[in-house]
């Protein structure tokens, strides 16, 4: 009895001492914090409403690595060193890089801790532009690291914890109190890890090109080694683009440990990597719904981290024309949903420049001749004649695939002139390229038949595309881009578009005959099969009548398992014609409120399919456990960066890798 009393007294004394020390430390910490987190630039891609939830600290569990997976063990009331989930995962089993590197890679078991302040860059290149671009990429890389290190790893989600009575605190002595968090944070900042510096040396010698092209060499090598308290990371690539991917990989070799509140990375590593496909795209439709520049940038950040490299911007459609053209502002005046739901030239340029920092090319598409209507109705008023027909015509089902209707006038020279100007502007804003998208899908011949009944309508369509191509050439300083993409359609089933100039984005079913025909006819193709890579499917019909355009929902496993080049058993020649693939986000039933979770982590599944193209000896429906483990960690990284990626499974399954499969 008396022993208990004296014990309590001793504890009390100890507690008051601790409080004093903490108070002192708190002041110190305040000073260092301001210094460390002083940032010049705001992160543009964060959610404005700040609804992100603090990443929880999981003090109740410790993890141990057993036969290549981490086992969750209760850590309550235990005093030994706790191993956090992330630190266990990063050092247990296969490497955690998404997409998986394509060559043999090695990471040491030994790790180092450091703080973001210790990271320095050294660029080794003779190309000035590359140096500038790498410096930008590095700045954003650091910002991401800082964001991870600064995350509010909420000690007490219970909002009332602070106001709770002391009796509660006593009950939870072993759980994390705010004081404990503070303690950790303070020491975390003080003893900035066991590295004195982390030097990143990026070497790019071969190519000084910073313009996007399908011929960009995206391979890179990364190696790191420790000398005393210095860690040297070397990224070697033949071009800026390869080096940029190296930086994405490096970012994934770094993690934040909630135990010592420091960044960690490997003492030694060796990664050699190159993509299997050169076109790894994601398409966003900004016409059915408008998406802010901020949300587009956020998407690009996630693309960069997953090494997707083409952002196909389906800028306009029949529903709205949000782009404010310098030459023809009437298009947006008549076609945008509102004055604020628009993109200025500056916006497009800004997105393109931002995307380049993340190694992502912006490919704008002004869909034509179909999928154009609202915004094109002012021709007669300006004496230019009808630029488009069937605009908003009813009954719509006679004249287009979905309301509202609209199709450009193929016999009005002004239509082509406007297109030419639009191409010109967009090329200026997004930079030189060897790939451009002309749209060209789903032309409804009945619409045109109302006006040009005497003509061969399919011929008219073909002529339109050829004319658009000619205008593109003019807009591009007299040179046609090497790859001019169009959507697959009835037209691409004829051979009227020369395969030497046109590439086809195939969006039909993956088992359709057209897949084989297009390859046989010599076209280069980009696969966007509706049955696997259409991310908008599965939400039912958005109209009162009719069936859903496509169902069901494509799960991330569906996206991941889709491997058309294997299923089609393509020979070497045909395989070379496959430029890559692209996931499509049509936005009839999506707006900014759920863009992130519709895109992610499913787009990441596509990213690994196209970058690594892992072979699957597994069952058709089953994704290997290792992939679950890695994508789960990658999803966590996205969430840490403020991207609201969807949950893959119950958190239990994330904490207990392999148990739910």
């Amino acid at each position: 009895m008396s022993l208990a009393v004296s014990l309590r007294r001793a504890l009390l004394a100890l507690l008051s001492g601790a409080i004093f020390i903490l108070t002192v430390l708190y002041w110190n910490q305040g000073a260092t914090k301001v210094q460390a987190y002083n940032e010049a630039l705001e992160r543009p891609h964060n959610h404005r409403d700040g609804s992100a939830f603090p990443i929880p600290v999981e003090k109740s569990w410790t993890y141990k690595c057993e036969s290549d997976r981490c086992l969750r063990v209760s850590h309550h009331g235990k005093s030994g060193k706790r191993v956090s989930f992330i630190s266990c995962s990063m050092t247990c089993g296969d490497i955690n890089i998404w997409p998986h590197p394509t060559h043999k890679s090695q990471l040491s078991q030994h790790t180092h801790s450091f703080s973001v302040e210790d990271v320095q860059l050294q660029v080794d290149t003779s190309h000035r532009e590359v140096r500038r671009q790498l410096q930008l990429a590095f700045d954003w890389f650091l910002k991401d690291l800082r964001q991870i290190q600064r995350l509010d790893y909420g000690g007490s989600a219970s909002e009332s914890a602070a106001s709770e009575s002391s009796s509660k605190l006593r009950r939870h002595v072993d759980s994390q109190s705010p004081a404990a968090t503070l303690f950790g944070a303070t020491f975390g900042v003080r003893q900035a890890g066991d590295l004195s510096s982390l030097q990143i040396k990026i070497s790019v010698h071969k190519s000084g090109d910073i313009n996007f092209s399908l011929d960009n060499d995206e391979s890179y090598q990364l190696s790191s080694s420790t000398e005393g308290h210095r860690l040297l990371v070397e990224i070697t690539a033949n071009s800026y683009f390869g080096a940029r991917h190296g930086l994405s990989t490096l970012q994934q070799l770094i993690w934040f440990d909630d135990e010592d509140r420091l960044l960690h990375t490997y003492a030694n590593s060796k990664v050699k990597d190159a993509p299997k496909f050169r076109y790894r795209g994601l398409m966003l439709d900004t016409s059915r719904h408008y998406f802010s520049v901020e949300s587009i940038k956020r998407t690009i950040v996630a693309m960069g981290l997953s090494k997707l490299n083409r952002f196909h911007w389906h800028l306009t459609d029949a529903q709205s024309f949000p782009y404010i053209s310098r030459h023809y502002p009437e298009l947006a005046e008549h076609g945008a949903y509102s004055e604020s739901e628009t993109y200025t030239e500056q916006d497009v340029r800004e997105v393109a420049e931002f995307a380049k920092i993340y190694g992502v090319q912006v490919i704008p598409e002004i869909d034509a001749p179909a999928h154009a209507g609202n915004g094109w109705d002012w021709g007669p008023k300006r004496g230019l004649g009808e630029l488009a027909m069937c605009i908003n015509q009813q009954p719509w089902s006679f004249y287009c695939g979905e309301p509202p209707c609209g199709q450009l006038n193929p016999k009005n020279n002004h239509t082509y002139l406007i297109l030419q100007r639009l191409y010109e502007e967009l090329l200026q804003q997004t930079g030189p390229t060897d790939l451009f998208h002309l749209g060209g899908d789903e032309v409804n011949l009945d619409c045109w038949a109302q006006y040009f009944n005497d003509t061969d309508l399919r011929g008219l369509w073909c002529d339109f595309m050829l004319q658009a191509m000619a205008r593109l050439k003019l807009a591009n300083n007299g040179v046609a881009p090497k790859y001019v993409a169009v959507w697959s359609s009835a037209l691409t089933n004829t051979k009227c578009l020369p395969h030497s100039q046109f590439a086809v984005q195939v969006w039909g079913g993956s088992t359709w005959q057209e897949n084989y025909d297009l390859l046989d006819n010599g076209y280069n193709v980009i696969f966007s099969h509706v049955d696997a890579w259409y991310l908008d499917c599965g939400f039912g019909s958005w109209r009162a009548t009719g069936d859903a355009a496509c169902a069901p929902y494509r799960t991330w496993q569906n996206v991941y398992k889709h491997r058309p080049w294997e299923r089609m058993r393509l020979d070497k020649k045909h395989r070379k014609q496959v430029l890559g693939g692209e996931a499509c986000m049509w936005t009839e039933q999506v707006d900014e409120n759920q863009l992130d979770n519709r895109l992610w982590p499913r787009s990441a599944a596509l990213a690994e399919r196209l970058w690594s193209d892992p072979s699957d000896d597994h069952d058709i429906d089953i994704v290997p456990p290792d992939v679950f483990r890695r994508i789960s960690l990658f999803r966590n990284r996205l969430v840490e960066l403020g991207i609201r990626a969807e949950a893959l499974f119950p958190k239990y399954c994330a904490q207990n890798p392999g148990e739910c499969i």
Binding site: D49, S51, F53, P54, P56, V57, E58, S60, S74, H76, G155, S156, A157, S158, E159, S160, S163, E164, H172, S175, R288, H289, Q319, E339, S340, T342, N392, W396, P403, P404, G538, F539, G540, S541, W542, R543, A544, A548, A551, P552, Y553, T555, T587, E588, Q589, V590, N593, Q594, N597, R644, E646, A647, F649, P650, K651, Y652, C653, N656, E659, C660
Partner: protein
């Protein structure tokens, strides 16, 4: 280009506060003059379609009244205007005229018996104003606002919220030369709060300053079903409090009144049980992914002020595991069995496995302590959801401890024996619950019924042997074609309906399930029966295997709103006729900060009747 910078621009040019004021005032006046003439260009057709005058449809008859915007037009276009869910009373008239007002200048007068009810209504007024402010599209302050005087009269002082609560109300708006008078009459504070919710549906943001309210309206309204719920699972994935509150906000906007909080499951036990801290300590995903006692109490209060009960479910004997594993260490034996066992397919329907041990008396003692905590969290009249679904008999049958225990008690190992064991589990828990309530709330005379999921045990063939209908309300989760609802109704059971092939919001993202869009949710009717009181209502279910705070809001909303109208109004008309009101309802959710899913291209919302 962008409107919002307009006033600021002037201010910076003149750089003088004084001038700025003058210009501001001039602009405001100009705006008001504008509204009355040239910019009023939206019309409402006799078929309930709002169209801009530049796009009038040929052959369609339009009412001569003109409105400044689509939002303005929608306020009174069609019998129910923009009210969601549609009122059910005889009276529902909404004027085409508007008053422009400043939400800060609305005056309230509360007439209620009792201090508690008065206080409640004052809070309601505060929430009402804050919701109005969210409708503001431009500057909402007006120098010369019309006076809005709101009088809310409540007949009964009770704050009890259960299936018997009178949620009806009558709402009259009339405008005289001097002011606009809003008169709200309701039986209880809950009816009154619904009336305020309806009143927000009679208000829209304006293209110039201030808000617009219909100048006259007469609405009587009462819900068809007393149980209008959303089930939210916070065990598969943890849902932070902020998102629980946003769910409650959206429910309040939809006049839903039950949050069925599926707070624990096999996966995790985030709820703090003060009497048994081990539950949370062993069961939570992390020390921060938890709900403290105080959090839960605050949440219950938060919900009540929005006319919502929080009905807590402690699922068992199945769907329980993590959180229960400390028995052996504490000398209480195995309280759960099959826990986290693999291969899971042998022991449960979904990983991780876990099922309570019905032969362990310590488990019942712990359960009783959990119930005591739960009873303290809720209002005295609040009841409990006991779960009781998906018991996987092979789990028990594969556990030696249970097989031996049953043999000792003289049971064979037949299915019927296991069912008996299972029903005893519920009976024992019910006794515990009754005892707690008798002690804690002696004023409540009748023992409260508890709720239980449909399962093997509710098979019409033998349900009467296991679950007395006076004490157990069955929440069914079968397909709409299933005969179960009908059979249980004939046997006199009360039901809460969660039609699996319409109201399971998690479907469509896993296995062979399919997604139910809002029209399907809307069209899903409840079982018809002679004794109407037997069908208490229904719940949409948000199981959280594939949802956490990142996608929760868009998965639930606006679809749950479609169920809200089904449950409040039980409309005879189709979703087709509701769609324009529904789109407006969705926009209100967005304005209130709920990230509701998009349901149709924006163009189709703006161009009514063009995307059929």
């Amino acid at each position: 280009m962008r409107f919002s910078g307009y006033n600021r621009y002037h201010c910076s040019v003149f750089a003088s506060l004084c001038l700025c004021f003058a210009v501001g005032a001039a602009l405001t006046r100009a705006d008001e003059a504008d509204v009355n003439s040239a910019s009023r260009k939206w019309l409402c057709s006799l078929t309930d379609i709002c169209t801009s005058e530049s796009e009038l449809l040929p052959g369609v008859h339009y009412d001569p009244a003109r409105f400044e915007s689509q939002r303005d037009c929608r306020l009174s276009c069609g019998k129910y205007g923009a009210i969601w869910p549609m009122p059910t009373g005889k009276e529902c008239t909404i004027s085409n005229d508007r008053v422009r007002f400043d939400p800060w200048k609305v005056r309230f007068h509360v007439v209620a018996p009792g201090e508690a009810a008065t206080q409640f209504l004052r809070e309601t007024n505060r929430l009402f104003v804050s919701n109005l402010l969210k409708e503001c599209t431009r500057n909402c302050t007006l120098e010369s606002s019309k006076q809005i005087l709101v009088r809310a009269t409540v007949a009964n002082e009770t704050l009890i919220l259960d299936w018997a609560t009178d949620e009806s109300y009558a709402l009259v708006v009339r405008t005289t030369e001097t002011a606009t008078f809003v008169d709200i009459q309701a039986g209880t504070v809950y009816g009154a709060r619904h009336a305020f919710e309806t009143l927000t549906n009679l208000v829209a943001g304006s293209v110039s300053n201030g808000l617009l309210m219909v100048s006259a309206a007469n609405i009587t309204d009462r819900p068809v079903y007393p149980h209008r719920g959303v089930l939210l699972d916070t065990a598969r994935n943890f849902v932070p409090l902020k998102f629980l509150r946003s769910t409650l906000d959206a429910m309040a906007a939809s006049k839903m009144n039950v949050l069925h909080w599926h707070v624990v499951d096999t996966h995790s036990f985030p709820l703090e049980i003060t009497r048994v801290p081990e539950m949370q300590r062993y069961g939570a995903y992390s020390t921060s992914q938890t709900y403290s006692r105080q959090d839960a109490l605050n949440l219950v209060k938060y919900a009540r002020l929005r006319g919502i009960r929080i009905l807590i479910e402690i699922d068992g004997p199945s769907h329980a595991g993590n959180g229960w594993q400390w028995g052996p260490a504490a000398g209480l034996g195995n309280m759960s069995v099959c826990l986290n066992q693999s291969p899971w397919r042998r022991f449960c329907v979904q990983p991780p496995c876990g099922q309570l041990n019905p032969l362990n008396d310590h488990m019942y003692a712990v359960m009783k302590e959990i119930f005591e905590d739960v009873a303290e969290l809720g209002a005295p009249e609040e009841t409990l959801h006991m779960g009781g679904d998906e018991v996987f008999l092979p789990c028990w049958n594969n556990t030696d401890e249970i097989r031996n225990g049953m043999r000792e008690r003289g049971y064979d190992l037949s299915e019927q024996s296991f069912l008996r064991l299972w029903s005893q589990f519920h009976q024992k828990n019910l006794n515990a619950w009754d005892e707690i309530n008798e002690r804690m709330f002696p004023d409540i005379k009748e023992p409260k019924p508890v709720i239980i999921w449909s399962s093997h045990l509710t098979n019409p063939k033998y349900i009467e042997a296991y679950l007395p209908k006076e004490r157990f309300i069955i929440q069914t989760w079968v397909d709409s074609s299933d005969a179960l609802n009908r059979e249980l109704l004939t046997r006199g059971y009360r039901l809460i309906v969660s039609t699996k092939n319409a109201w399971y919001l998690d479907h469509g993202f896993w296995g062979s399930t399919s997604y139910y869009n809002w029209r399907t949710v809307y069209s899903s009717g409840l079982p018809v029966t002679r004794n109407k009181d037997q069908v208490l209502g229904g719940e949409v279910c948000m199981w959280s295997e594939y949802v956490d705070q990142n996608s929760l809001e868009s998965r639930i909303w606006p679809r749950a709103g479609a169920a809200a109208e089904r449950l409040w109004s039980d409309p005879k008309s189709s979703a087709f006729l509701a769609q324009r009101r529904f789109y407006r309802y969705r926009e209100r959710l967005l304005a209130r900060g709920i990230h509701a899913d998009a349901v149709t291209p924006h163009w189709c919302v703006l161009h009514e009747g063009m995307c059929l």
